[in-house]
């Protein structure tokens, strides 16, 4: 059984409205319902959303105006929120992956990605967290 279902609550943080639409389209194909998907267009808004309501997973871009995704991850962790975070970014160098994991991200997906790439990564994270 898939770890993603109609109860899964997802926060999508990306400054590209088109990329958010692409990701949301993939999530809907995976049976995540629209009411359970929240969008944020930059790191500041992402932190605000992450601290104000519960999510099963946060998808976080890196390069965004106002606050970088990496700084948003740090702020979310400093606030004590333990929701798993998947970085979805063009920043694919090894040092950036290490920096993100050290900051508190749980996994990393480099753009470009397919729907299958995103599904596999989300399922992997949700399975890890549901297993405790």
């Amino acid at each position: 059984m898939s770890a993603i279902n109609n109860q899964t609550r997802v926060l999508v943080v990306d400054d590209s409205t088109v990329l958010r639409k692409v990701i949301i389209g993939i999530l809907k194909d995976l049976n995540v319902i629209a009411d359970n998907i929240t969008e944020a267009g930059d790191g500041v808004e992402g932190v605000k959303m992450a601290l104000s309501q519960p999510f099963n997973i946060i998808l976080m871009d890196w390069n965004m105006p106002n606050m970088l995704g990496i700084d948003a991850v740090k702020a979310i962790r400093q606030a004590g929120v333990k929701t798993p975070i998947l970085m979805v970014t063009t920043e694919g160098e090894r040092q950036n992956v290490i920096t993100a994991i050290q900051a508190g991200a749980n996994s990393y997906l480099v753009k470009p990605f397919t729907g299958d790439d995103l599904r596999e990564r989300i399922e992997q994270i949700l399975a890890q967290f549901s297993a405790g």
């Binding site: 400054d15 590209s16 409205t17 088109v18 990329l19 639409k21 692409v22 389209g25 390069n63 105006p65 970014t89 063009t90 920043e91 694919g92 160098e93 040092q95 480099v110 753009k111 470009p112 990605f113 397919t114």
Partner: protein, 168 residues
């Protein structure tokens, strides 16, 4: 210490990295095959289309920029495939946003390849979008020609232009 690259070696590295990145990003994100039409040098930015995404590059070894330019019809097709919507439902905001994001992905992918080849770390700016037939840009590193890579996709041409000036 790595030997310093001459301009020919740098050009070859840039072309390989950007051709591979462009092909992979468009195939992965919109499922379209991209063909290479040719490579040339130009003293100034020469878009083939009505919409360009420009990204600045800065690093310890030098500075430069990249531009990717699409005719409006091809940009609309790309975005309609990206969003799985008919072309008539694509608006200007989505078109600009998507072309900027694709440029981001291409530069990010090429950056990974270049760093694997020993390039020094460098930073990329957020994309700037320029619209209009015959548009141009007024600032780029002086005396540094653009490498112009022309591609074909779905019977239309688009191009990607890179210039990079090494320090010293």
């Amino acid at each position: 210490m790595k030997p310093r690259l001459d301009s020919t070696a740098l050009d070859a590295l840039l072309v390989n990295a950007y051709v591979s990145a462009t092909t992979e990003v468009l195939k992965t994100m919109v499922g379209l095959d991209v063909g290479m039409k040719g490579i040339s040098a130009s003293p100034k930015y020469t878009p083939v289309g009505d919409i360009s995404a420009i990204i600045g590059v800065t690093g310890e070894s030098g500075e430069g920029m990249l531009g990717i330019s699409f005719p409006m019809s091809l940009a609309t097709l790309v975005v309609s495939r990206l969003l799985s919507l008919p072309p008539q439902k694509i608006n200007s905001d989505d078109r600009c946003d998507a072309i900027g994001e694709l440029a981001n992905m291409i530069t990010g992918k090429a950056k990974m390849s270049l760093m694997q080849e020993g390039a020094s770390p460098y930073k990329l700016s957020l994309p700037t979008i320029i619209l209009g037939a015959g548009h141009g840009i007024s600032t780029h590193p002086k005396n540094t020609p653009f490498l112009v890579m022309t591609f074909e996709m779905e019977g239309e041409e688009f191009n990607l232009q890179v210039c990079f000036k090494m320090n010293g």
